[in-house]
Amino acid sequence: MAQKTYRDAVREALREEMLRDENVLILGEEVGVWGGTYAVTRGFHGEFGDKRIRDTPIAEEAIVGAAVGAAMGGLRPVAELMTINFSLVAIDQIVNNAAKIHAMFGSQARVPLVIRTPAGWGQLAATHSQSLESWFAHVPGLLVVMPSTPYDAKGLLKTAIRSDNPVMFIEHSRLYGVKGEVPDAEYTLPIGVSDVKRTGRDVTIVSWSRMLHVALGAAETLAKAGIECEVIDLRTLRPLDLAPVYDSVEKTHRALIVEEDWTTCGMGAEIAARIGRDRFDSLDGPVERMGQVEVPMPYAKNLEELMFPDEVSVAEKVMKMVA
């Protein structure tokens, strides 16, 4: 299989679906002439033209609102929000319109919409460095996908575009350059299915997006010390598929959730609550969580480096859990 970057995997999914279905269009800030601020849609404007690759004003409420209406009207828009931070400007459209329209009107209308947006950071300070996936995973009526690998990103994005439901498809700016195996042949992956990325008997680590790679790095280190971690990639945050997590906890009796978001009211809180409720008797100790330090992101590089769990801190946490 070919090695491709996460960026190219996303790009291939978009391009293949645009070629497959003329009702797929892309709208967002700098998706066209500029080629995408993270270069995901580079070359698309030349290939597909103004009609299907639509540069928009910097007005996220209008981008998502128009995408909602276009989806109701029979198109399959892929709206790009330059970063997930800007989704807050569009939150009324996402929460009150995209997520509600199918139910509120008694299933008369549907909103086959994908909102692509990256989480991420890199000395961008407080308002441009957030994760926020739990905000959207909170809302019935949305599907929330947050892939960690190029393979998953491509297969899940193709499914998201074909879905008749609104999908928040959350990428990560620091994953775009990550390489992985992506088959050349057509494939899709189901939304709502977690994936065991590494098997092990001692501790279950639950993660997604960039932190999945941190967890895998820690697991590699720990394996050298004879501690085998099972690392599970949720891939989809709504609906949650915890079946592989439960199976794993029955084997390991210990669970650690590693997320990039703040832990208060975060995804990890929900996952820990469910493990505690459904596999209480399997646990040898409390479900542990690691996430971002609970402060607005500082600009200074040395402070930023203190913000997230890393392979060392995750390995230390696991060592304590098995001690």
Binding site: N23, L25, K51, R54, T56, P57, A59, E61, A62, I63, V64, G65, A66, A67, V68, G69, A70, A71, M72, G73, G74, L75, P77, D92, Q93, N96, N97, I101, H102, A103, M104, F105, G106, S107, Q108, A109, R110, P140, G141, L143, S163, D164, N165
Partner: protein, 339 residues
């Protein structure tokens, strides 16, 4: 037309030497306005009996806008509205039984009892629903228009909202996008003078609301929203222009809400005298007068229509009362499209 010039009202009821409407149209508009009025009077009464819950925003006094606009639009034209929305669905010919059942929260309602008064939709009739976050549906309207433009469909989108929505960011960002993309979108701003209880002068830096269209350099008009013929003609003109590739258009229809914002509004923000004065411009009474003056129907014919409308609304109330509540098993249905 210069963007900031209001439409001349040559063909309004008072100004026109004759009436640019057939007898059939004239009677149909009278019937629809009477139907909306009676429907809401009975809804108000049912609310008092506890049969309707939550908010109930009455359109009484504003009926000429919905009826005039629907008369101008094609049946395939898309309509998306704010939450004071009973008039639009009735004006487009939705069965009052299904609308009333929705207000009653019954399984037979337009949205199976899941939307209520503020969220009436009938997608088969291109009624894309009432939206209750002020201004939030304006970008969605632009999106519906984008779908029509993209698919080379001839229909325009008519988007209704109150003057209060023109102070929200979604009005600006939505219409700006529509103007940049020259989308077939006709915005109809119902200026009833109050956003809830705050007068337009206290909430909007520009009180001649149609002038806000100059921010997007799109054609704008102001019409007397209590004159069904003037509304019909203005919407027809603007919709035709939009349909012919003229891009978005904006109409300010001036009107007055005879009732409170919703049920239980103490109306401290206006005087009884002001309301009574406004009622002298009742759109139904005016149209009735115009129809009779121009010999488009007789008093007996109009009285018979009112009787028929009363009976139709009584039947709608009975239907709503007797319809089953949604099955509890419906609670978790329709959140997502099954895939």
């Amino acid at each position: 037309m210069a963007p900031t010039s209001p439409l001349r009202l040559r063909d309004s009821v008072e100004d026109a030497p004759g009436i640019d409407a057939t007898a059939e149209e004239a009677v149909d508009w009278f019937r629809k306005m009477a139907l909306i009025r009676r429907f809401e009077e009975r809804a108000e009464e049912a609310y008092g009996r506890g049969k309707i819950g939550g908010f109930l925003h009455l359109y009484i006094g504003e009926e000429a806008i919905a009826v005039g606009a629907m008369a101008a639009l094609q049946p395939e034209d898309d309509v998306i509205t704010h939450y004071r929305d009973h008039g639009y669905v009735l004006a487009r010919g939705v069965d009052p039984k299904r609308a009333m059942a929705e207000l009653f929260g019954k399984a037979t309602g337009l949205s199976k009892g899941k939307g209520g008064s503020m969220h009436l939709a009938d997608v088969k009739r291109h009624l894309w629903g009432g939206y209750a976050i002020v201004g939030g549906h304006i970008p969605v309207a632009a999106g519906l228009a984008l779908a029509n433009q993209y698919r080379n469909l001839p229909q325009v989108v008519a988007c209704f909202f109150g003057e209060g929505a023109t102070n929200a960011g979604s009005f600006y960002s939505g219409l700006n996008l529509a103007a940049v993309w020259k989308l077939p979108l006709v915005s109809i701003v119902e200026n009833n003078r109050y956003g809830m209880g705050t007068a337009v002068e206290r909430a909007s830096a520009v009180c001649d609301v149609y002038r806000k269209a100059s921010a997007f350099d799109i054609p704008a008009a102001r019409v007397d929203g209590n004159d069904v013929l003037a509304v019909r003609n203005a919407v027809r003109r603007m919709a035709d222009r939009s349909r012919d590739g003229g891009g978005p258009q904006l109409i300010e229809a001036t009107t007055y809400r005879f009732r409170g914002h919703s049920m239980g509004d103490p109306q401290r923000y206006r005087t009884k005298e002001e309301v009574e004065e406004a009622k002298t411009r009742d759109p139904i009474a005016r149209w009735r007068h115009a129809v009779l003056e121009n010999d488009l129907a007789t008093e007996d014919e109009l009285r018979k229509i009112v009787d028929e409308v009363d009976a139709e609304v009584e039947e709608a109330v009975r239907f709503a009362e007797n319809s089953p509540a949604p099955d509890p098993g419906e609670l978790c249905n329709d959140v997502l499209v099954a895939e």
